[in-house]
Symmetry: C2
Subunit: 337 residues, 2 copies
């Protein structure tokens, strides 16, 4: 089978591509070709892989060509992130809404010419939820919580969820949406996402650098490893359609933790010296965005697919350390041993 | 002040225009000019009114020009109806989604050049709600019910609600959404809406014609007079912003009735001979769409604005008969007296 990953050069996209190549099959069929589209270049080992095709251009510019290309499954991960969407409203609408519609219409074009509906897995976000001035804000959100996004990013994700549900209802695609929790620990540099610090406060100290903490220690948030999110995306692709009926999305499991618990775990895994590199430095812009995010998730539908969050935040840090030992030992230069 | 009504030649648009001209003011300011845009021509008495400008063209084609034109308030009623959207997917996306976005961007264009955010009242619909396979379908829906539309029309309305909420949050507009219940009794001919029969089973017998009833007598649905919906749209335009916080829309009050109760009311008001002109003639396509609609509404937020549904369906029929006596006595040729 032939699979498309949009945003295929990104952090989650690359890990998903690796996982698919390693398992070699999806939905009971062998994977012959993996097409990675992204506005940024893919990693060299991906570009050189015999079963991978890399296409570097904005998704919106690629959709016209995609109309004539058959895919058996599409993982639609390409997205501008929350901070970018707040800073540049048009960028968010173009990258997150217009691009998704163009992709949906490309897939629909094939169905209207007799092809079976393509399986599309859309990565949405718990950013579809906002605080609720009409009722007490729920401590945890789930698939039946009324989404009231308070960011453009969350709005665009929610809008795409509903468009995907309607294209699916019409038989144009076989669409499924997974709402990802905040992926932690992301490697590399801080990005434009307001959630970037959730990785930074672990990643920077492990690399021997100071990290700014823009919010209070009491802030609670659901987080998950990239491994766990990749497992979720694959499980959602392979689930029966019935698992999705009646809701626009399945929220993937997350570990509901406070920043305090995250830093305690860091100290336990890496020591007090590493922990001390996190310096409180409140950022009102970030704090305001994060205050509007859920403090936890409850995910019975995802759990019914066999998905579970990590048991502790220490596990999440250890997964990151293992990754770094293999891929980029320099990222651990802040560790004593 | 200068007011724009999109869909201004339609049934609700025309009645809203009349009501605004009669009251002469909105939000505490006198109404100087009313601009009616519609793809269909406006009624002659509107086109000839000294305070009314009529522009006949598709909304999407008019939005570029609207970018340079200041309005103090906009009532956005233009929309393809539910039956049309199911039959022609592209028409629905263009008429309901693309046109709304172009209108929002036209209003945003002015704000970005220093103008105050324009008050925009969007007419959404209770079609944003669908049945709930995950939970028992609520007998009545309200502003806190999770919308899961099961039609393209409902999806597009919901998507626009969320875009309007985000444009408002960003300060580009002062947007408010009213979810209308099914307007009954609509005059004229049946239209492409799946809800068309809710008017037809009253209108046709009063005009001396047979009417097909495509659903069971037990079907329940919230309905309201056009007078009540117009009052609702004006109240929503004049409400404080705080009345909307935390929800994407305010559901307007409706009378929750069964088809049986509607026909009993018809017999009471117009006699058994008129009632007997309604003939059961099941239409599976219509019945399937209607089965996915709410059976009633509960509207505490609208009630807090002073809005109330009619007390009985007989009142709704009598309002229609009064209208016909004034505007079109021919429509009552089925009445004995």
């Amino acid at each position: 089978m032939k699979i498309l990953i949009t945003g295929g050069a990104g952090f989650v996209g690359t890990r998903l591509a690796r996982a698919l190549l390693e398992r070699g099959h999806l939905r009971g069929r062998p994977i012959d070709t993996l097409v990675l589209t992204d506005q940024f270049p893919a990693r060299p080992e991906m570009a050189q892989h015999p079963r991978v095709q890399v296409r570097t251009a904005a998704l919106l510019a690629q959709c016209e060509a995609l109309r004539e290309e058959p895919f058996d499954a599409v993982f639609h991960l390409a997205s501008a992130v929350s901070g970018e969407c707040e800073a540049d409203f048009d960028l968010g609408l173009r990258s997150n809404l217009d691009s998704t519609r163009a992709l949906l219409d490309a897939l629909r074009h094939r169905t209207e010419r007799g092809a079976a509906p393509t399986c599309l897995v859309f990565s949405s976000s718990i950013a579809v939820f906002g605080p609720d001035p009409a009722y007490p804000f729920p401590e945890v959100v789930g698939d039946s919580t009324l989404p009231m996004p308070q960011t453009s990013y969350g709005t665009q994700k929610l809008v795409c969820e509903h468009l995907i549900a309607d294209y699916t209802r019409k038989g144009y695609i076989d669409g499924r949406t997974a709402r990802l929790v905040t992926v932690t620990v992301r490697p590399g540099r801080p990005n434009g996402a307001a959630s970037s610090f959730f990785s930074g406060i672990i990643r920077e100290p492990l690399a021997g650098e100071d990290a700014a903490l823009p919010v209070d220690l009491s802030v609670r948030h659901p987080v998950g490893s990239v491994q766990s999110m990749v497992r979720g995306l694959i499980a959602v692709a392979e689930a029966s359609r019935e698992a999705f009926v009646g809701r626009s999305a399945i929220t993937l499991p997350g570990l509901n933790v406070s920043v305090q618990e995250m830093l305690d775990a860091l100290e336990k895994v890496a020591g007090a010296k590493v922990r001390a590199r996190v310096k409180p430095q409140r950022d009102e812009r970030i704090a305001a965005i994060v205050a509007n995010w859920p403090r936890g998730v409850v995910t019975p539908r995802a759990n019914a697919l066999g998905l579970q969050a990590e048991a502790s935040f220490e596990d999440i840090i250890r997964l990151y350390i293992e990754d770094c030992r293999r891929d980029n030992p320099q990222a651990l230069r802040g560790l004593d041993s």
